[in-house]
Amino acid sequence: MTPRVSYPAGIRFENVEKRYGGLYALRRVSLDVAPGECVVLAGRNGSGKTTLLRIAARLVRPSGGNVSYSGSSGASGDEKPSDRVRPGFVAHATMVYDELSAEENLLLFARLQGVERPKERVAALLEEVSLTERRRSLVRTFSRGMRQRVAIARAILTQPSVLLLDEPVTGLDSQGIAWLAETLRGMRNAGCTLLMSLHGESEISALATRGIRLDAGSVVDDTSAGAAMSAVLAGAGE
């Protein structure tokens, strides 16, 4: 099973703003996600969920405000510097190379990130995502569900303290969704902070302890209460 993450980390958004010319994708969003929390982001298309996640992943530079990571190792209480926390990121695009095999892809990203004993880690991951038999096949030949599994494996290579997921359920069948829910449950139990954007309720959204709703770039709802959470999620997926 997944070992406990070494540096649980929280995410802090301070007045994060993103403008594209005259268009505001995000308007002064301030949020605090505690270490180990599992949060669902809901909202219509264009409400800013993807932008928020990509800013958290540091792929997009905010026009204003700041995103930072914070955390402590729990036991000894020392802080890990914010910019050393590297979140895992899963998007709708698989972010792996079609022309390379599953194993080659994972080895590439493992080596780039300085994972120790990369070959063993990759082998273990492939086992965890049930792709060991197809590890030498080119990703080009994979089904959507299999590609998603490679994508998740890539995201959790370094056992990140934070995992960001942008609509990870799209294109998955019920089996795929069940597998993803179980994987994420394992990560959550290991202390990983999860921030994911979803459309509507599912096994995945059931993992969350908090729901945040975005509309036109602003937070309109932020709740952890049970019934209210369903409302937050039900409002999505139009």
Binding site: R19, Y20, G21, G22, L23, Y24, S63, A216
Partner: protein
């Protein structure tokens, strides 16, 4: 409103004075006669064009560093103005050269690197039309502008050092070679007038760019509401 009108009046006066000086105050040049007077316009425009491109370079650097739309505005304004000046240089050059030297063009270092510079700034403006999102457009064109600016001295150096086996008549001569004091004064006055014109054009173009940006913001606000 008034400030702009006054400035415009100053520009017109200076340009008029410079033209007057070029035609009536500066002495006629010995070998080429009246035709040489185009030099005051041509060379001054060249200097102003180069200054405009330097302004673009600085604006590009400032944009990459600070990401303020005003630097992008300034960059594109001075690039367009610079391009206009350099275009007149490239046109007046051959007009002058044919009667004076019998050929329209020569591939010497200055002319050729001016031409390549002109090409690079056309590409800069063309690139901008091919990127829709304003922040991307600003950043990518600023970066291209920076690379272009660094390239120009290299172009000049390459031609200067490697094409000497194709000697060419130096069309315009050095700005200061063999010019008598009145001519020098006329020349520097022309340069001044051109630079004032350049500043005026850049400011006007910049105003236009800022207005476009504001209209864009308002339009998006309306769409969302």
């Amino acid at each position: 409103m008034w400030k702009r009108a006054i400035f415009a009046a100053i520009v017109v006066s200076l340009m008029g004075a410079a033209a007057y000086a070029s035609f009536f105050i500066a002495p006629t040049e010995a070998t080429m006669g009246t035709l040489q007077r185009i030099f005051y316009f041509h060379a001054a425009a060249a200097w102003a064009g180069m200054t405009a491109f330097s302004v673009t370079f600085v604006a590009n650097l400032l944009y990459v560093w600070q990401r303020k739309p005003r630097w992008d505005s300034l960059g594109v304004s001075s690039a367009e103005v610079g391009l206009a000046f350099i275009t007149t240089v490239l046109i007046t050059g051959p007009i002058w050269a044919k009667p004076a030297w019998g050929i329209y063009w020569t591939w010497d270092a200055r002319l050729t690197s001016t031409f390549v510079l002109w090409l690079l700034y056309i590409c800069y403006l063309l690139l901008r039309t091919l990127i829709e999102e304003p922040d991307r457009r600003a950043l990518l064109s600023a970066l291209f502008g920076i690379f272009s600016f660094l390239d120009v001295p290299l172009v000049f150096g390459a031609i200067r050092w490697f094409r000497t086996q194709h000697p060419a008549p130096v069309i315009m001569g050095d700005g200061n070679s063999g010019l008598n004091p009145t001519m020098k004064a006329t020349f520097f006055f022309s340069v001044l007038a051109m630079h004032v014109l350049m500043v005026f054009l850049i400011m006007e173009r910049n105003r236009l760019e800022k207005m476009r940006f504001e209209v864009d913001v308002i339009r998006h606000e309306l769409e969302v509401a």
